[in-house]
Symmetry: C2
Subunit: 323 residues, 2 copies
DNA sequence: CTGAAAGCGCTTACAG
DNA sequence: CTGAAAGCGCTTACAG
C-alpha cells in the first residue's frame, strides 16, 4: 500500500506538505494541493486509518448495537437500518462495526472493548428500551450515541424516530376512510412498547373524530385464548390496527380460523411481510427504516461538528402506508 | 484510557517488559507476567488497537459483505450469520465490519477502501454467486475470505455450506416417510442457485429410492400463471419440497386458492417464517446459520495460523428438520 | 508557502 | 531476564 511518504518522495515534497495538501490545509498553495490530490488519486492512495486514528485520537468507526432478542419478522427492519447507516458512513470514510450477541452480558463486553480499545467513539442503537444497561453504559462513557426510537421519557439522548401518534392516526384513518371500516379494533402486544402507546393515542384520536367506539386488545404472543374469546365477543369488528405486521397477521389468522368466510381489513407496521404471505386485506405502514438509519448517522456527525441542542438532537422520519 | 506506558511507570518496569508480559512472551519471567496481567486487569487496560495494528500491519477486523439484493424473508438468515460470526470474533478481539449497499458499485467501493486503508484483511461473504465482482476483487487482493455457500464449481476458495444434497434427500424422505406423501413435487425458484441444484439431486435420489415419480416446477417470483396451470394439471400432488420457505409458502398459498378444502404438506428451507404465519402442514429445514457463521470465522482464523489445504478449506454444517 | 521534528501507543530487533 | 531505541504512517506545533 502506498503511503504519504512515497508520494512525498516521488513528488519532491516533504511529508508534512503532502499531509497538509491532502487535508486541504489553506496554508498550502492551491496549485500544490491540486497536484498532490491528482497524484494521490492516480496512485490509488488511501490513508492508513490506524495511523490517522492513532495520531488524532479518533476512530473512523460507528458501533451499531442490535437488541438481544428480536423476532423473525423484525430482521428486515434492522437490515434496512444498516443499509441507511452505511450509506452515510461510506461518504464519511467511516466503517460500520456491529455489536450483536445472545445475552446482554456478551453485548456489554463487546461494546466495552470497542470503547476501551479506542476503536469506536460513536454508536447507534437499533432500539430504545427502558432501563437498557447498554444505554446506561454509553451514557457514562466518553462517546456519542443515537438510538432508533425515542427515550421512554424526556429527551435524555439523541434519537431518530417516527411520529407514532400520527402513524396510529393515519393507519386508523386509512381503515375508516379508505377501507370503510366502522369498527376498527386496536391490537397491541403485551410488551407495552412506547411506540405502541403512541399509536394507540393516534388511534383513539381518529376513532373519536370519526364518532366511533374504541376497542383495544392486548394480544399475547404465546397464548391466544384471549384473542379467541375477543373475536367471539366482538362480532362487530371489521378492521384491525395492529402495532406491527406480525401482531396483525396473528390476529388475522386467528380471526379467519374462528370466523371462516368473513373478512377484516388489517393495517400493521413495518412492511415486514412479503406480499405473497398476505393478501389484499392486509396493509402496512412503512416506517422507512433506511431513512431512519441515514438520519441517525447524520445526527451523529452533526453533533461532532457542533454540539447539537434541543430540537436538533432528534429527527422524525415520515412514514408511508403501503396499500 | 490507560496505556502500556502508565502500567510500566506505576509498576517500575520498562514499556518493553510490560508489552512482552502482556503478550506472554516466554522471555519474561512467569512471575512478572502474572503481576503485569493482574495489574492490567485491575486497571481495565485494553490495548489501543490502532497502535497495535499499525505496528503489526494487522487489522483486527473482519469485513462481512451482504449481497446486494435480498428478499424480506432472507434477513433472519443473514442476521443469524452475523450472530455466529461475532460470537467467534469477540473471542479473538476482532470487530465485525459490515459492507452493505444498494448497488454492486457501492459495495465494491466499500470493500476497496476497507482494504486500502489497512483496516480489513479478512472477509466473510454472506453469499456465493457465480461471477460475483466482489469475489473477483477479493481474489486478487492480499486478503483472506470465506463465502457462505460453496463456489459454483471447484473448490476455488474457502467456504462454509450445508450438505444440500443430503438436505434435499432428508426433506423428501420426511415428506414420504413421516408425512405419508406419495406424490411430492420439487418446487424451485427460476434463479437456479447452486443449492437448488443440489437439493434437487437429493430429492431425485430419494424419490427414486421410494419408487415414486419425480415432478419439478420452476416457480417465478413475479408471474404465477405457470404455478396455477401446474396445480390444475397435477391433481395427484400431496407434498411439496420447496427450495426455500418463501417459495414453499407461495406455492402453498396458490394451492389453497386453487383447490380450496384440500391440503398439501410442505417442506421448505431456512426456518425463516414465524410459526404463526404458517400452519401444521408447513415444515422447514433449519440450516443452522449461526453455526455457519461461527464456522466461517473459525476457518478464517485457522487459515491465518497455518495455511489450510484441501478438505480443511471448507466446512459443512449439519441441518435439522423443524417439524 | 514549505519543512524538520515530535508524538500518538504499540512491538520487536538489538544490546546487555 | 530486562531495557533503550527504532519504527509503523500519520498530523501538527514550531521554525523559517
Amino acid at each position: 500500500m502506498i503511503t504519504i511518504r512515497d508520494i512525498a518522495k516521488q513528488m519532491g515534497l516533504s511529508v508534512s506538505t503532502v499531509s497538509r495538501a491532502l487535508n486541504d490545509n489553506p496554508r498550502i498553495s492551491q496549485k500544490t494541493r491540486d497536484q498532490v490530490h491528482e497524484f494521490a488519486n492516480k496512485a490509488g492512495y488511501q490513508p492508513n486509518y490506524n495511523a490517522r486514528n492513532l495520531t488524532n485520537k479518533e476512530a473512523n468507526s460507528v458501533g451499531v448495537v442490535f437488541p438481544v432478542n428480536n423476532r423473525v419478522v423484525d430482521n428486515i427492519f434492522y437490515v434496512n437500518l444498516l443499509r441507511g447507516i452505511n450509506n452515510q458512513l461510506s461518504k464519511k470514510n467511516y466503517v460500520l462495526s456491529v455489536a450483536i450477541g445472545d445475552t446482554t452480558e456478551t453485548v456489554i463486553e463487546n461494546v466495552t472493548s470497542m470503547i476501551k480499545r479506542g476503536q469506536v467513539k460513536k454508536f447507534i442503537l437499533l432500539y430504545s428500551h427502558l432501563n437498557d444497561p447498554i444505554i446506561r453504559l454509553l451514557e457514562k462513557s466518553p462517546v456519542d450515541f443515537v438510538t432508533v426510537g425515542k427515550p421512554t421519557h424526556g429527551d435524555s439522548w439523541m434519537y431518530v424516530d417516527n411520529d407514532n401518534v400520527k402513524a396510529g392516526y393515519d393507519g386508523t384513518k386509512f381503515l375508516i376512510d379508505e377501507l370503510g371500516c366502522q369498527h376498527p379494533v386496536f391490537v397491541e402486544s403485551t410488551n407495552g412498547w412506547p411506540y405502541e402507546v403512541d399509536r394507540l393515542t393516534g388511534y383513539l384520536t381518529m376513532v373519536d373524530e370519526a364518532g366511533l367506539r374504541p376497542v383495544i386488545l392486548s394480544s399475547s404472543e404465546t397464548d391466544n385464548t384471549e384473542t379467541i374469546e375477543f373475536i367471539h365477543e366482538h362480532d362487530e369488528i371489521d378492521g384491525v390496527l395492529a402495532t406491527d405486521d406480525y401482531t396483525g397477521l396473528r390476529f388475522y389468522s386467528e380471526y379467519r380460523r374462528q370466523r371462516p368466510g368473513r373478512e377484516v381489513e388489517v393495517v400493521g407496521y413495518n412492511a415486514s411481510l412479503p406480499r405473497e404471505l398476505t393478501n389484499e386485506h392486509f396493509h402496512s405502514v412503512d416506517l422507512n427504516p433506511k431513512e431512519m438509519g441515514r438520519s441517525a448517522a447524520r445526527i451523529l456527525f452533526a453533533n461532532e461538528t457542533k454540539q447539537l441542542t434541543g430540537e436538533q438532537r432528534h429527527n422524525i422520519i415520515a412514514h408511508e402506508i403501503m396499500v
